[in-house]
């Protein structure tokens, strides 16, 4: 394995240590070393906003901790949900006395651990609301949207929910707008090469040379089809078609576009994809309000990219434009 690691079993510990050293101006380590906390959290009177998820998606999830962003983030093992204890401790760190919202992704482990953490917090008198992200179009058909996974659309859910909390929104107001944000996000991933958990030592799925997996998940979950690798232009068109057909937005709708690398794809290729993505989106009469390009939500060293299209209205557009200070440009 050509990787920068010390002990394969301590990858997350070592990552967190370096992360906290790098970003001490905006965040700190919680009482629980598996919780990252915004420097000023908890803010008295403000609804606390938290998330949590497996590691290996950096800068997801902890990189979105910060001012006007997430108050606390629970950190799990690589590709594995944080413990109920870590989610619970994140809730405590974020609690400013007016309730806490947990905005997380739809995975079996996260669902269980969040459920247990909410029970534990309720026993202490902390009111916790949840919104679960399900923006990954290829993970289930439209009529089973509740089964879809949460992927990069979570970033928009966090941004919108956090901005509303900053503006003094109540727990219910924050919940409603975070739900609206994720309801208006659709994402798709395309994988060109697999990734390896260091402690496992070999890729746990294969993508044969000169093929690609359309609809791949953030942990290598198989997509809807495997097909010969095509040009960036053809791939970008397919990604737009899958996302926009599912979205079915009226012309004139304003959107935010996020093109994220999955870890091992060079940035320039994301721009190559975006060239076509912008053309395709505009051709459907949609108006691009903002575009985000970069490694916003990765899957270790997977080769591939995701596209997220977030349909805006006046409220979410204004909240998206609220300035935030986290490790990523939002």
């Amino acid at each position: 394995m050509q990787r920068f690691i010390n002990d394969p079993n301590l990858v997350v510990e070592d990552t967190v240590k370096g992360f906290v050293k790098a970003h001490s101006d905006i965040l700190r380590l919680g009482q629980n070393p598996r919780v990252i906390v915004a420097k000023d959290a908890p803010v008295a009177g403000k609804v606390g906003v938290i998330t949590g998820g497996g590691s290996g998606h950096e800068p997801g999830f902890m990189g979105y901790t910060g001012k006007n962003m997430l108050d606390a983030v629970a950190v799990g093992e690589l590709f594995s949900s944080p413990t109920a204890k870590s989610f619970h401790d994140a809730i405590r760190e974020a609690n400013g006395g007016t309730g806490v919202i947990c905005l997380y992704g739809n995975y079996a482990g996260d669902n269980m651990n969040v459920k247990m953490a909410v029970r534990l917090a309720a026993k202490e008198g902390i009111e916790v609301a949840t919104v679960v992200a399900n923006d990954d179009v290829c993970s289930a058909p439209p009529h089973e949207r509740e089964k879809r996974r949460g992927v990069a659309g979570e970033i928009f859910m966090w941004k919108i929910g956090s901005a509303r909390a900053t503006q003094g929104g109540s727990l219910e107001e924050v919940r409603a707008v975070a739900q609206k944000a994720i309801d208006n996000c659709r994402s798709i991933g395309v994988g060109l090469g697999p990734c390896t958990l260091p402690a496992v030592g070999h890729p746990n799925f294969q993508i044969e040379p000169d093929t690609m997996e359309v609809g791949i998940g953030h942990h290598g979950e198989p997509g809807v089809r495997v097909e010969p690798l095509k040009s960036a232009e053809a791939i970008a068109r397919d990604m737009c078609q899958i996302v926009l057909d599912d979205h079915n937005l009226p012309a004139g709708t304003e959107v935010a576009v996020l093109v994220s690398g999955l870890g091992a794809t060079p940035l320039n290729e994301l721009y190559i994809l975006n060239d076509t993505i912008e053309t395709e989106i505009s051709a459907r009469g949609l108006i691009i309000h903002r575009t985000y390009i970069g490694n916003y939500f990765t899957s270790l060293e997977m080769v591939g990219a995701t596209l997220t299209v977030f349909a805006l209205d006046a409220e979410t557009k204004a909240l998206l434009d609220v300035e935030a200070n986290c490790t990523m440009k939002l």
Binding site: A84, M112, A199, F205, H219
Partner: protein
């Protein structure tokens, strides 16, 4: 009636941990075929940590289950942390106050573990999860006792049913968890959770049998 002692039986948990650690690569390998390949890694980490805490301690089986359950719940995360964490803490709860474990106590322990799992997860038998090993194992144990078979023989029935249940997952389509996204492509592969569950149930049964008197 045959019973085994709850006291000084923490070694049972150490042998379960040994088997899980031995099967680290195997469990990850089968998980990798339809999941993300970390089942063995996470299980070995959790069971290994619990074993470290228990080594040299003279505790009851119930106390040892509690240590194991808490480590899994507080340190492991994922899906298996809370599921097995809840199972073992419920096991511990039901052994409390019993010096001698008879078939009735043993059965109530298994049922409490199952109910704990069902209170946080939404899987059913046939969804290709650990329940496909656990549920038939409990039924076989209860059935054997109801048919007036000995504790010893009921434990054999439990192991056999757990392994048959585990093998049944080969022909099941995953309905929950990461492998559910595969649909039909999950056929022909054992479920890692059912496999680790069968290992755990077998070790508990072998250890209990060797202690029956």
């Amino acid at each position: 009636m045959q019973t085994f002692k709850n006291n000084s039986a923490a070694a049972i948990v150490l042998t379960i941990a040994d088997r899980i650690v031995e099967n680290r690569a195997y469990l990850s390998e089968i998980d990798g075929k339809i999941g993300d390949g970390d089942h063995g890694v996470n299980m070995a980490k959790g069971f290994g940590m619990a074993a470290e805490q228990l080594k040299g301690q003279d505790t009851t089986l119930g106390q040892a289950f509690e240590v194991l359950g808490n480590v899994l719940m507080d340190e492991i995360g994922g899906s298996m942390g809370p599921l097995y964490g809840v199972m073992f803490t419920e096991f511990a709860d039901k052994l409390k106050g019993h010096d001698d474990v008879d078939p009735k106590v043993f059965s109530s322990m298994l049922h409490a573990g199952l109910e704990g799992i069902q209170s946080i997860g939404s899987a059913k038998v046939g969804d290709k999860t650990l329940l496909d090993a656990l549920v038939p194992a409990i039924e076989a144990f209860d059935g054997a006792i109801a048919a007036s078979r000995s504790f010893d023989s009921a434990l054999d029935a439990l192991v056999e049913a757990a392994e048959t249940g585990r093998d049944s997952t080969l022909n099941l389509v995953a309905k929950i968890g990461r492998s559910a996204r595969l649909g039909e492509r999950s056929l022909g592969v054992l479920d890692a959770g059912a496999t680790s569950c069968a290992i755990i149930l077998k070790e508990i049964s072998i250890a209990a049998k060797s202690r029956l008197h």
